[in-house]
């Protein structure tokens, strides 16, 4: 089990913590900064990559992901510097996926060429909505037309392009969402992330909701109907859900995210980044300071930003369930069979129609996926 990560792959996550403006729904580790010393940040990120790579030399890297924040605010040179650092001690897989999360604005689209030259071969665009008024409500700086233009540029520059939408928004009806989704499917190439709006603690939306505002969010039943409809319509368009909120044509899944969900190894670099790394049979969870300033000074002063804790066998089992059951493909049956208690609980969930089990694999059914937190709650071990 120790070297299990090999089956799922090995990835690098790079966190860029800056944004142009903070969106009211967003609880990501993102900050608005007046000016950013790009060269200094690139140096720090690259030095973190080198540090871990020297500990794990020779590993084959299957994916790199620049997430944020808004990584499309990075200079292409910074992206290039980080990528170069990753090649010094690791081996890039032939089919390596290098994704960058981008906001669909014209200023950013102008940098796409540079990213491609630096080695980026996939972008994920935060389109969020295909309605101008809705984009304004979400506090986005772009409009629909601008997003579509950015999407066009991305398609011409990169092999693979995906985009994100947020639905189950205020006052959104089932039919309105259906129309918007169909438009999205017409635009989409081979990958789409469709997230139901979540009101996260610590966001402006959260505060507004607590103060009695933000009315008209869908109730549980409507949200469930929207989810079901989304799955049906996407399936018809040959864009099956391969994960709770992610849809792709077969083979076009995000390899990077699959590594998380299949519980491979990934190195997390940048403020607030998390990683999971297997070293000499021990599986480590790593975490970096979230505040950009704190992270930067730690790298520069100590040469290491991350803290590591060893995961217990129970932690590993629990995380594997939490991640794996999100996937349509589920997890390997052997995993359950190795845990008699889990096997028993899973059997009862199968009986309730919330899990399936066939061909040596087990996963959440469509009904189970909508109740995944409960299903997982039933399975967690102490």
């Amino acid at each position: 089990m120790a070297e299990d990560w090999r089956q799922a792959g090995f990835a690098l996550y790079v966190h860029w913590p800056f944004c142009e403006a903070k969106c009211p729904y967003c609880d990501f580790n993102s900050h608005v900064a007046r000016s950013i010393d790009q060269a200094r940040w690139a140096r720090a990120l690259a030095s973190e990559v080198r540090r871990v790579a020297r500990e794990t030399p020779g590993r084959v890297l299957n994916s790199v992901f620049f997430g944020g924040g808004t990584p499309s605010l990075m200079d292409p040179e910074s992206v290039a510097a980080v990528l170069e650092a990753s090649r010094e001690n690791w081996v890039w897989a032939n089919d390596i996926e290098v994704t960058l999360e981008a906001n669909p604005r014209s200023v950013e689209a102008a940098r796409f060429d540079g990213y491609a030259r630096a080695g980026v071969n996939r972008v994920s665009l935060g389109v969020q909505a295909l309605r101008d008024d809705e984009l304004r409500r979400l506090g986005r700086l772009h409009g629909v037309d601008e997003a579509k233009r950015a999407f066009g540029v991305a398609r011409s520059v990169f092999d693979r392009v995906s985009f994100d939408l947020i639905y189950a928004r205020q006052d959104q009806s089932l039919t309105a969402w259906e129309a918007e989704l169909r438009e999205a499917l017409d635009m989409a190439v081979d990958h789409l992330s469709l997230y139901q709006l979540t009101i996260e603690q610590g966001t402006a939306f959260w505060d507004r909701q607590r103060a009695g505002g933000l009315r008209g969010l869908p109730d549980e039943d409507l949200a469930a109907d929207m989810y079901d409809l989304t799955n049906e319509i996407c399936a018809e368009a040959d864009m099956q859900a391969y994960e709770v909120s992610n849809h792709a044509r077969p083979g076009a899944e995000s390899r990077h995210n699959l590594i998380y969900w299949r519980y491979g190894d990934w190195v997390g670099v940048g403020p607030g980044a998390h990683g999971r790394l297997t070293l000499d049979g021990t599986r480590w969870a790593s975490e970096c300071p979230a505040a950009p300033g704190a992270w930067l000074s730690r790298v520069e002063n100590t040469g290491q930003a991350e803290d590591r804790t060893a995961l217990s066998p129970q932690d590993i089992v629990n995380e594997r369930i939490m991640m794996g059951l999100r996937l349509t493909e589920g997890v390997d049956m052997e995993f359950f069979e190795a845990q008699p208690i889990l096997n028993m609980r899973a059997a009862s969930l199968v009986e309730d129609g919330l899990m399936w089990c066939r061909d040596g694999r087990a996963g959440a059914t469509v009904a189970g996926r909508l109740l995944l937190n409960r299903v997982i709650g039933e399975l967690l071990v102490d």
């Binding site: 997430g67 980044a273 990683g275 629990n318 995944l372």
Partner: protein, 601 residues
């Protein structure tokens, strides 16, 4: 040397809830300089957290103040601030036994209310001189002249010389002090050299001093170091500490006739003392005990169980400690198939229940499940035996029961006449029998004979809401009467939940059953499967609701960094489960057990 009787005045401050008793006590304490200005705070006698939080007095408090009167003499005044809520009426009546007069506070914006009347009757019973005090005259809505008339019409006491005050701003307080001295009588008699005869008025547990006993000396003198005996319980103790309450304990050497003070001895628990008992010297006892008081009787019972079954021992500890301080609630161990070990407790009323439960949860940090409150039924079995039923779960098979009697009360409600119809309807709905309907000025006074069990849960809340808070309510126990009562069971997911069983009148069973199922449907969170909720009488279902299955509970985003975050979320979810109790496959939140009984319409 003890103070001559002529320079002592003992009195209680009584009123309807919130009319300003405790605030008046503050002013009397302040104006006489009993407490330094910097130590004053609002309603300073309400010291318990729960009193301060709810802004009500729960426990009567005694304070000794010294007042230099206009006649040049300094008087010793012992005041007792009493609670206004009907659940604590017993505190008022026994406080009155220790004093000779009462200040009857009436809120000049509200006028005479139900407890105003009840308190007047108790004061008259205790042979008290009564000085009416009209409070809150600082408020624009105050109508002192009208309220004076009302006092004369409704209560029949002279209000022409009532003090007009604002306990808040301090207007009129000097007049109150003069009236206390001039119009309230001194203690009637008392011989400092006679054998000791002292009334045990109250006792409480102080974590530092142990049991503290409040006494009123009738005859003789009590000194520090004396060996005393309680005439009824026979307990003998040495007096370790003797003090008066100012309101902080201030040591004194002796207490003479007419005086009120506290002592401590080696008394282990409050239960070893009995209010109304007579304390005398062991060596030179009085020949006759004082008449004593009627003990308080709990009228509402419920089960208290720890949410976490492992906390039973902690609960036992907490209940025992709390009982040290509150002799008016009773408890005994109880076991329930579904809830495990807990206690069946008896209370003076629903507020008393809530107060005790709150204190257990807060001061001892134990999450509790409170089962359906119940009154005490008298069961008459076919074989001639008679049983007291404190817990519906213990109800024997109906075929063995000849008939059942339930406790009834006499309720007095004062209400502005525009709400009279709503009040009459409420009383009729609750199986009431009208006894009287008269008018006290613009307000109606309604007297009803009602079954206690219809009043216990939510009658007061309902009354407040149908009258927008303008009605007041008081009640007394009236004895038992036979009626057509049955046990209603509640089944959740086809399993009977004992803790929700209740006795109901047969004619009201369907209605209550329906209300209960609807309520539970709202109170129980959705599960992954649908849950039938039924009410049944002897196996026959009389009401049914279905709680539909939960449809959606999934986190939209979960990437590399979220593995850790999500784990925390799931742990929180698990902690939330701790506030729930498992019944078969269903988890029921603790608050459901009481909330389910409250009826909204």
């Amino acid at each position: 040397m003890s103070t001559p009787l002529s320079r002592i005045r003992n009195f209680s401050i009584v009123a309807h809830i919130d009319h300003g008793k405790s605030t008046l006590a503050d002013r009397l304490i302040q104006l006489t300089g009993t407490v330094a200005e910097r130590d004053m705070k609002e309603q300073m006698l309400d010291a318990m957290d729960i009193e301060r939080e709810r802004g009500i007095t729960i426990k009567a408090n005694t304070v000794r103040i010294e007042y230099p009167a206009k006649d040049g003499q300094t008087y010793i005044l012992n005041l007792i601030d009493t609670p206004g809520h009907v659940d604590f009426a017993y505190e008022v009546s026994r406080s009155m036994r220790a004093v000779e007069g009462s200040l009857l506070v009436v809120d000049a914006t509200q006028g005479v209310e139900a407890q105003t009347l009840a308190n007047v009757y108790t004061a008259i019973d205790a042979n008290h001189e009564i000085v009416p005090v009209l409070n809150k005259i600082d408020l624009p809505a105050a109508e002192p002249e009208r309220v004076k008339e009302q006092i004369e019409d409704v209560i029949g006491i002279d209000a022409s010389e009532a003090c007009l005050i604002s306990a808040k701003t301090g207007i009129g307080i000097p007049d109150v002090l003069e009236a206390i001295v001039k119009r309230l009588p001194p203690p009637h008699s008392g011989d400092p050299d006679a054998p000791l005869k002292a009334m045990l008025v109250d006792s409480w547990y102080d974590s530092y001093l142990g049991v503290v006993v409040l006494v009123r000396i009738m005859d003789g003198t009590l000194r520090k170091g004396d060996n005393i005996r309680m005439m009824r319980t026979g307990g003998k103790y040495g007096v370790d500490k003797l003090a008066v309450l100012k309101p902080a304990m201030t040591d004194v050497k002796e207490l003479g006739p007419g005086e009120i003070g506290v002592f401590t001895g080696s008394i282990k628990q409050v239960r070893d003392t009995r209010v109304g008992d007579t304390i005398t010297h062991d060596k030179r006892p009085a020949d006759k005990a004082l008449p004593g008081f009627k003990p308080s009787v709990p009228v509402v019972f419920c089960g208290l169980f720890p949410v976490d079954a492992n906390e039973f021992e902690d609960l036992r500890d907490a209940i025992e400690k709390l009982a040290l301080n509150d002799a008016s609630f009773t408890y005994e161990m109880e076991t329930s198939a579904a809830l495990g070990f807990g206690f069946r407790c008896g209370f003076l009323g629903l507020l008393h229940l809530e107060v005790v439960r709150d204190r257990l949860e807060r001061e001892y940090d134990i999450d509790l499940i409170t089962t359906a409150p119940s009154v005490v039924y008298h069961l008459f079995l076919k074989d001639g035996t008679q049983l007291e039923l404190h817990n519906p779960a213990d109800m024997p098979d109906l075929s063995t029961v000849d008939h059942i009697e339930e406790p009834r009360i006499k309720a007095t409600i004062l209400v502005p006449d525009e709400y009279l119809g709503d009040v009459l309807k409420l009383c009729q709905d609750r199986r009431g029998i009208q006894l009287d309907l008269t008018y006290a000025g613009p307000r109606a006074m309604v007297v009803y004979d009602l079954p206690l069990n219809e009043v216990v849960f939510d009658f007061y809340d309902r009354l407040k809401s149908v009258t927008k808070g303008y009605a007041s309510f008081d009640y007394q126990m009236e004895g038992y009467r036979e009626d057509n009562l049955v046990k209603m069971q509640v089944l959740v997911n086809d399993e009977p939940v004992d803790a929700l069983s209740m006795m109901v009148h047969r004619d009201r069973a369907e209605m209550r059953g329906r209300a209960m199922c609807e309520k539970l449907k709202d109170l129980i969170p959705r599960h992954m499967f649908k849950i039938p909720i039924q009410a049944a009488i002897g196996g026959k279902v009389i009401a049914r609701e279905t709680l539909s299955a939960l449809r959606k509970d999934v986190t939209a985003k979960c990437y590399g960094g979220d593995a850790t975050r999500k784990k925390k979320l799931l742990e929180k979810q698990k902690a939330g489960k701790k506030k729930m109790r498992q019944f078969g496959k269903v988890e029921i939140p603790q608050e459901a057990f009481i909330s389910a009984l409250k009826m909204d319409s």
